[in-house]
């Protein structure tokens, strides 16, 4: 329901009645075909909020080209008829009579069992902040405006132009922490946690959108916070590519004479006054709580913090009330993967609450009957995607279209701005029907991400899903041949021709149904593993939980409080009790996984526990094997009992608090073993851990001197509060650079730490009673799992997710899900929400009694003579040798493929010397045709 807002709610968790106000759209959704004639004729321009007001839309509009639903709407505040009673131009021109000025707001009543709130954030508005000059200088834009300027579907069609004179900017500066970490001009004391990375991304992406070599990108920052997975590498990559990072906050921005560009003044760390001119300044604006938060908090009865973010407990970071769950920026600023994870976690909590009513109200999607095309002559429809400028910026798509029209069997060709958009799907269906198409070729991007979408479209058009073929003219062409547009266009023609000859030979395939074993395996009995196990068991799925140690709890047993002050031991005790007492959870300690065979829906594993081997069958698994604190090999660790790591110092603080609080000086060194050549990643949790410890020390003894040697303080999100508190309490922060690390020597009086203070340029030496090293978090035991499941890990040894943004808890192997520190270092609240999300995703698999497998599988032909060469090469152990006695009494040997295990990789077909085994959709005939077609261009044009 669009244009709708919740008005009120009644009832209790499990049974709510929600009233939703649906504002009038003034356009009949059933009649609108999104032809756009209305917007063309509408005389009233309005600033386009989707493009951050960079350009105009009309009073009748769609949000953006790929909008869902793709139906126009009338903005009642702008429409001339609705405000002044005259015009109705859109009504006159609408070819389907979809305009309905009689449309009225209505209240819809919904009966629901649970509520998930995800209202998002609003970007900080820098208007009124005179020193940024956002109001007065044309070439000062916010980062979201800049995002639209870069976007291929944005107002400049991807050709970057600055607002003042529409020229391409060359010297661009980013200003970090605009409206974040600022309690002086605004009251946003928190860090928005995403701006550093998006600024680095924008700086890098800008290079792809500009011409020539003169581009220079400068980022002015306070602390560079690249605390996520692969972020540190991205940051290093940006530095290597020449992006300039300056640790400074420009204090004055003036317009340049002539009205274009800006002059910035700033002070460098060593005190020099600088003045520099830029063509364009981008303000990296932070995230703020939306106005809706207040209304929602009132309606659903939960509390907000002083910034307007929802308050949750660390033990269940997505719950605000019985039956009301939250996701995304509603309760703290966060990046996309974290928001997606929380969304799954919130879904999990809702499903847990309602598990009894599961399926009661669900509706299945139905498709038209499949048309049998075996007797038809192939009629191919080719859709060439521009992908904004991603493809069309390099390849001459019109030439490709014209070329494709001349190919055999091609009945229809068209170019689309985005072939993946919702309106194009409608178009493909229409054309398939009108032109009686029976094969579709999409020349666009990779089938890995987009083939399922087009297969769905074919099914809706009454065609078998396997009659679609994709030519990857983006990833394999326009992205890699940016400098050679002409050759790229020729290559695109080759790719399209090859796809067409294959498509002509595509046959309808049926997907295989297999039963799903509705049981789960959870590997790892830390907080993440236990959370997943409990979530799944409470939804009715039996769980086997394996723990490597002799007790549950994992790293959490060393932690006393979360980053937000919740006490951990009681929460952990309660969780262990619930897990051990749950009738549907079988806990095995001292357990090690030994084997893993099978695939999604049906896995079989053996594990060893207390010396005996047991077997377990399961449909999905959550991997939550955790990580560990590394043992430092620098700063004299191990040589002196006064030198600690975080965990050993925490222990000391608990055991001997009276001794520790008498200390005169405690020093911390950050990034010990992180962000170096051996572990080129940020361990994410150590800065906050240091803040917690420092604040605690200062609270115990205000007179104590606490000094932190750091590189960048990365107390992201609401954790910034702890940093602020530490500074308020007088903790000293001394920055060091990796080329000039602090020097440590031990004397009987204390641990001497020497460092250079970059601001005063003095070397200081402190005599500390304790030195605490913020040791890196490193993975452990992941190699075994990678080996067993053939799942992926990154270069640092952390298990990989299927997609870093959109599938943050799915693994590359279907049916496996990842949670907690084995995926990347993270604090407990994030580990818990990830574990809830993993449970939700696993429940998607386990909810079904049977599931459909991909139809791309190998099959055995009559040519097989049982030589069994393929048995050895199959990486999924899907092929077995079968012996049987024929009617003539002779022994026959043939191979057999287990379709549930087969992934359709084709190694068997490539190995087989006699065409005894083939892969559906990739038969020799199809591949030969493609090869022959590829060679046509070499032999001088079409044969």
């Amino acid at each position: 329901m669009t244009l709708s807002q919740v008005v009120s709610v009644a009832g209790n968790a499990g049974n709510y009645t929600v009233k939703v106000r649906r504002s009038p759209r003034y356009v009949d959704m059933d009649k609108c075909i999104a032809c756009g004639l209305c917007a063309e004729k509408c005389p009233r321009p309005v600033a386009d909020e989707f493009n951050e007001g960079v350009n105009n839309r009309k009073a009748i509009y769609i949000k953006y080209g790929q909008s869902v639903p793709l139906k126009y709407a009338i903005d009642p505040n702008a429409c001339i008829y609705l405000t002044r009673g005259k015009c109705r131009a859109c009504e006159k021109f609408c070819p389907t009579g979809a305009i309905n000025f009689e449309d009225k707001a209505e209240i819809v009543e919904l009966k629901v069992g649970a509520v998930v709130l995800a209202p998002g954030y609003q970007p900080y508005d820098p208007s009124g902040e005179d020193y940024y000059g956002y109001d007065s200088i044309a070439d000062v834009v916010t980062s979201l405006e800049y995002e639209r300027l870069l976007s291929a579907s944005g107002p400049c069609m991807g050709h970057l132009m600055r607002p003042s004179d529409n020229r391409e900017p060359k010297r661009i500066a980013w200003l970090q922490c605009v409206g974040s970490r600022n309690t002086n001009r605004c009251s946003n004391g928190y860090c928005s946690s995403v701006c550093c990375m998006y600024a680095v991304k924008q700086a890098l992406v800008t290079a792809e959108h500009t011409h020539g070599d003169e581009l220079s990108q400068t980022i002015f920052f306070m602390d560079l916070r690249s605390h996520g997975k692969e972020f540190e590498r991205y940051y290093e990559d940006a530095k290597a590519k020449g992006v300039r990072f300056i640790r400074a906050r420009p204090h004055t921005i003036d317009p340049l004479r002539g009205g274009s560009g800006v002059r910035m003044r700033y002070t460098t760390e060593d005190g020099r006054q600088m003045e520099e001119d830029f063509d364009l300044a981008v303000l990296s604006v932070g995230m703020e709580a939306t106005q809706d938060n207040k209304a929602l908090a009132g309606i659903f009865d939960f509390s907000l913090d002083s910034y307007g973010f929802a308050q949750t407990a660390a033990s269940n970071p997505v719950r605000v009330n019985d039956g009301v769950f939250v996701a995304g920026a509603l309760h703290a600023p966060k990046a996309i993967p974290h928001a997606v994870t929380e969304a799954s976690a919130a879904a999990n909590e809702a499903a847990r609450l309602l598990s009894e009513a599961k399926g009661a109200l669900a509706v299945e999607k139905t498709y038209p009957d499949e048309r049998d095309v075996t007797q038809e002559e192939p009629r191919v429809g080719v859709f060439v995607c521009s992908c904004g400028i991603n493809i069309a910026g390099v390849i001459d798509v019109n030439a490709v279209v014209e070329y494709a029209k001349g190919l055999d069997h091609v009945a229809f060709v068209e170019n689309n701005l985005f072939t993946c958009s919702a309106d194009t799907q409608v178009l493909i269906r229409q054309k398939a029907e009108e032109m009686n198409l029976n094969r579709i070729v999409v020349a666009a991007c990779t089938p890995r991400t987009h083939e399922p979408l087009f297969q769905e479209t074919l099914k809706e058009a009454g065609l078998n899903a396997y009659l679609v073929e994709m030519a990857n003219i983006r990833n394999q062409n326009s992205w890699v041949h940016q400098k050679e547009p002409e050759k790229a266009t020729e290559k695109a023609k080759d790719q399209v021709r090859m796809a067409v000859v294959k498509a002509v030979r595509n046959k309808a395939l049926t997907r295989l149904k297999v039963d799903v074993n509705q049981k789960a395996l959870v590997i790892g009995g830390g907080v993440a593993g236990m959370t997943s196990a409990l979530s799944l068991a409470e939804q009715g799925f039996p769980v086997v939980l394996l723990e490597r140690e002799d007790r549950l709890g994992g790293n959490a047993s060393h932690v006393s409080a979360t980053d937000f002050g919740d006490s951990v031991p009681p929460m952990l005790k309660d969780m262990i009790k619930k897990v051990e007492g749950h009738p549907d959870i079988a806990v095995h300690t001292n357990a090690r996984l030994k084997t893993a065979v099978g695939s999604v829906g049906n896995f079989v594993s053996k594990f060893e526990t207390h010396g005996e081997t047991r077997a377990v069958t399961y449909g999905a698994a959550v991997i939550a094997t955790g990580a560990k604190e590394s043992i430092p090999d620098e700063y004299g660790f191990g040589s002196d009992p006064r030198i600690h790591t975080h965990l050993s110092f925490d222990k000391l603080m608990q055991a001997e608090v009276s001794t520790v609080q008498k200390a005169d000086t405690v020093a911390f060194i950050q990034c010990v073993g992180s962000r170096d050549s051996r572990r080129p990643y940020c361990s994410r949790i150590c800065c906050t851990h240091t803040m917690k410890a420092a604040v605690k020390l200062k609270t115990l003894n205000r007179a104590m001197q606490v000094v932190v040697f750091y590189r960048d303080i990365r107390t992201y999100g609401l954790r910034e509060e702890l940093y602020r508190k530490a500074r308020e309490l007088g903790v000293l922060f001394v920055r060091y650079s990796p080329d000039d690390k602090p020097q440590v020597r031990t004397t009987p009086e204390g641990v001497m730490v020497r460092g250079l203070d970059p601001i005063s340029r003095f070397t200081l030496e402190i005599e500390a009673d304790y030195l605490v090293l913020a040791a890196a978090v490193e993975p452990h035991g992941n190699e075994e799992l990678v080996e067993l499941y053939k799942c992926g890990a990154n270069a640092d040894g952390f298990l990989n997710e299927a997609h870093p943004k959109l599938r943050p808890v799915d693994m590359s192997v279907d049916g496996l899900f990842v949670a907690g520190l084995c995926n990347y270092p993270k604090p407990m609240d994030e580990a818990i929400s990830q574990a809830q999300a993993a449970a939700a995703r696993a429940a998607v698999v386990l909810s079904r009694k049977e599931m459909l497998l991909d139809a791309i599988k190998s099959y055995v032909t009559e040519h097989c003579d049982g030589c069994a060469l393929c048995v050895d090469v199959c990486p999924y152990r899907a092929i077995r040798l079968q012996e049987s006695t024929g009617e003539d009494g002779r022994m026959h040997r043939m191979v057999q493929v287990d379709p549930a295990l087969c992934k359709g990789c084709g190694v068997c077909a490539a190995t087989c010397p006699k065409d005894g085994v083939r892969v559906h959709g990739f038969t020799k005939e199809q591949i030969k045709a493609q090869v022959a077609s590829a060679l046509e261009s070499l032999s001088g044009g079409r044969a």
Binding site: T2, L3, G14, S151, K201, D322, A339, A362, G540, A843
Partner: protein, 146 residues
């Protein structure tokens, strides 16, 4: 509606689990399959069914109590309902309201819909997609945000 396990019912009747499953398949016992080995049934229906089996009253009550408990285990904070079977029992509604059609709201909606719940997605503006739809590319892979 109450939830029970096939094994529990077989236990009090002294029959094999498969016998109970067969009754359910042949509709002699009008129960609906749930998740795992659990089944849903109207309380009246199961009482009527058990009354024909000449069981002692206590055994029937004990079974029904246990069956109700199985159900409540899935409900956090049952706030007194259900355990006291004199009170009216409520089954939760199998649908969820999601407020906000950005990337988080969309993901929650998909997960719930794919696990068998009906979802109402409420979005303030004219189309879903939220902030992420406004982005050009996303770090660290520089994938197209759309």
């Amino acid at each position: 509606m109450i939830t029970f396990r096939v094994g529990d019912l077989a236990g009090i009747l002294g029959v094999h689990r498969n016998t109970v499953t067969n009754w359910i398949r042949s509709r002699a016992l009008p129960a609906q399959p749930g998740v795992g080995k659990k089944y849903f049934i109207e309380e009246e229906a199961i009482r009527a069914f058990l009354s024909g089996k000449n069981l002692p009253e206590e055994a029937v009550e004990a079974f029904l109590n246990q069956a109700v408990l199985t159900m409540n285990r899935n409900l956090p904070a049952p706030s007194g309902q259900g355990k006291d079977r004199g009170m009216e029992k409520t089954t939760p509604t199998g649908s969820v309201l999601v407020v906000g059609g950005g990337i988080a709201g969309i993901q929650a909606t998909l997960d719930l819909a794919e696990s068998g719940y009906r979802v109402h997605l409420v979005e303030k503006s004219a189309g879903i997609g939220g902030r992420m739809a406004q982005l050009d590319k996303t770090f660290p892979t520089n994938d197209c945000a759309m």
